[in-house]
């Protein structure tokens, strides 16, 4: 059976799962927005402030040495996890959004007015708006990979869009709104065949399965710690060393410089070139603990279990009268988006919140997808490995109740 053997003990690691909402035990199904935080991560933050809080990289005193070492060890952890070639290829940022802006802003150096960049119809606003800003600045044009009715990208159309004009392609690994797992291997292969760089937004992938940037041969890969049981305020940017060396620095400040005078300033080597100012030291270290935590459960186990939850929930939800699921790709992970009859998602979300069930409703920062389906939004349930089939049963009951009240 596809059940994590130690699910009970895993749930005990997450103190928030014991809280009550309106007298009901919390059922947290909004994991695609942010995942919950295990005790080891929470404790790592406290421990940091109680034992080694200090500014890093430049202090000669012991606290600074220890904090620096932990911070840099964390970089090595991510390097191994993503199978990067060197730790210099791992840049810590404040989130996926920051990571994408760092890259898109740097690309203004490489783009001319006739160039093209390609996005998919499936993207989160964070992977659209920075590139729109880039187009505005450079005059480059943006093309959009279309999707079909079940939320899969049309790679046939994509291959026709590609040309020598294409400079960069940016697509998410997993859609946060529909759960579609995109065939990024093929997207990367096709893009490279015309010499275009590829940025993959892995915000919704990294929490759910293994990612090997070297095998993928991807140019940039980005994610947020708060989506894989880490703290808020930390993002990771993987970039191929040759690309990171070519990109201009994003922010100016301490840490990212080699020498400063009013006449001439030279920048540091990687990774410091992209880490201006005091980073979120406590958060970065805690993100490494979160990574250890999910690796300890095993991303293989996590994927099996979450697939099981996804299938179970899909089946149960479809029993509800008038329920329509958006996004039915063959390859999906951990997300189900749906509506019930013509009921406004906000109404359903508000009612089941009173029953302690946290789901997300709305456009999920992916308005182009909503426009595609011509709906104002959906109800989205998204799973983490600490969810259970029992919670899904309660959700289904609650949805039936809400639907009756609102019909």
């Amino acid at each position: 059976m596809n059940v994590l053997k130690n699910i009970d003990s895993i749930r005990k690691d997450f103190p928030i799962l014991n809280t009550s909402i309106n007298g009901n035990k919390l059922i947290y199904l909004d994991n695609a927005a942010t995942s919950q935080t295990p005790n080891c991560v929470i404790n790592s933050i406290s421990d940091y402030y109680k034992n080694l809080n200090s500014n890093i990289h430049r202090g000669v005193h012991s606290l600074s040495q220890m904090a620096t070492e932990k911070y840099e060890d964390t970089r090595k952890k991510f390097k191994s996890h993503f199978n990067a070639k060197s730790s210099s290829e791992i840049i810590f940022t404040s989130g996926t959004t920051h990571s994408i802006n760092l890259v898109s802003s740097g690309f203004s150096k490489f783009l001319n007015i006739d160039d093209e960049i390609i996005v998919s119809q499936l993207e989160h606003h964070s992977n659209i708006v920075p590139w729109q800003m880039l187009c505005e600045k450079t005059g480059a044009k943006m093309k959009v990979i279309p999707m079909n009715n079940i939320g899969e990208l049309d790679l046939n159309e994509f291959s026709k869009m590609l040309s020598a004009k294409t400079k960069v392609v940016f697509v998410n690994h997993v859609s946060n709104a529909l759960g579609t797992v995109n065939d990024i291997e093929e997207i990367i292969r096709l893009s490279h065949s015309v010499g275009a760089a590829v940025l993959i937004d892995g915000a919704q992938a990294v929490p759910h399965f293994n990612v090997d940037v070297t095998k993928l041969d991807v140019d940039f890969y980005v994610c947020s710690a708060h989506k894989f049981c880490g703290p808020t305020g930390v993002g990771i940017l993987y970039g191929k060393e040759e690309w990171l060396n070519k990109l201009p620095p994003y922010q100016g400040g301490g840490e990212m410089i080699d020498e400063v005078s009013f006449e001439k300033t030279t920048y540091s080597e990687l990774p410091n070139k992209f880490e201006a100012g005091t980073p979120n030291i406590a958060g970065v270290i805690a993100s490494g603990i979160a990574l250890d935590y999910i690796n300890n459960i095993g991303l293989g186990n996590i994927k099996d279990y979450e697939d099981h939850l996804l299938n179970y929930a899909t089946e149960k939800l479809l029993e509800i009268e008038g329920l329509k699921i958006y996004g039915e790709s063959k390859d999906k992970t951990s997300v189900i988006s749906f509506n019930i009859k013509n009921i406004h998602p906000y109404d359903i979300g508000s009612l089941i919140d009173n029953l302690g069930i946290a789901v997300r409703t709305g456009h999920h920062c992916a308005q182009p997808i909503m426009d595609f389906f011509n709906i104002p939004g959906t109800i989205r349930v998204s799973f983490c490995f600490y969810n259970t089939t029992g919670e899904i049963d309660t959700l289904v009951d609650a949805l039936k109740k809400a639907s009756t009240m609102l019909s």
Binding site: Y346, D347, N354, G362, H363, P376
Partner: protein, 139 residues
């Protein structure tokens, strides 16, 4: 009736309900039954955007009082909207400006007014006050 008395009246009505389910059923009833705005006034100018449910608000001045008309695409929002209209419509601008809104808290619907941007209710209340200020100045 004064704004304060209307609010007390609403709180009294909701006090009858023992469970949140009953309260919400009443709210949904309110949302369904009241036609709060003429279609002709559901213009883009009158939209107050929340990131999920929209609110339309239209105001008219009439013999020293302001009449408000509103609507929403989500039924629970619409129920609350109808209560706000009942509270503020047909009141004098200065009474609206000085009113403190407490019934939403008291009937346990506070979450719909959080600084959250899911619905347009917070901005609707702001806009009601803006209208009152504008009309009081134009007098």
């Amino acid at each position: 009736m004064k704004i304060k008395d209307i609010q007390d009246e609403i709180v009294g009505e909701f006090d009858i309900f023992e469970t949140w389910m009953d309260k919400y059923e009443y709210l949904i009833e309110l949302g369904k039954s009241v036609p709060v705005i003429d279609e002709i006034n559901k213009t883009d100018d009158n939209i107050i955007k929340g990131c999920q449910s929209k609110v339309w608000l239209h105001a008219e001045q009439d013999e020293g009082v302001i009449r408000f008309y509103a609507d929403s695409d989500a039924i629970i929002t619409k129920g609350i909207v109808s209560l706000l209209i009942r509270t503020f419509s047909n009141q004098k601008p200065e009474d609206i400006i000085n009113a403190s809104l407490d019934f939403i808290d008291k009937i346990g619907l506070r979450q719909h007014l959080s600084p959250n941007r899911a619905n347009g209710l917070n901005n609707m209340i702001k806009k009601i006050k803006f209208y009152a200020i504008a009309f009081s100045k134009s007098n």
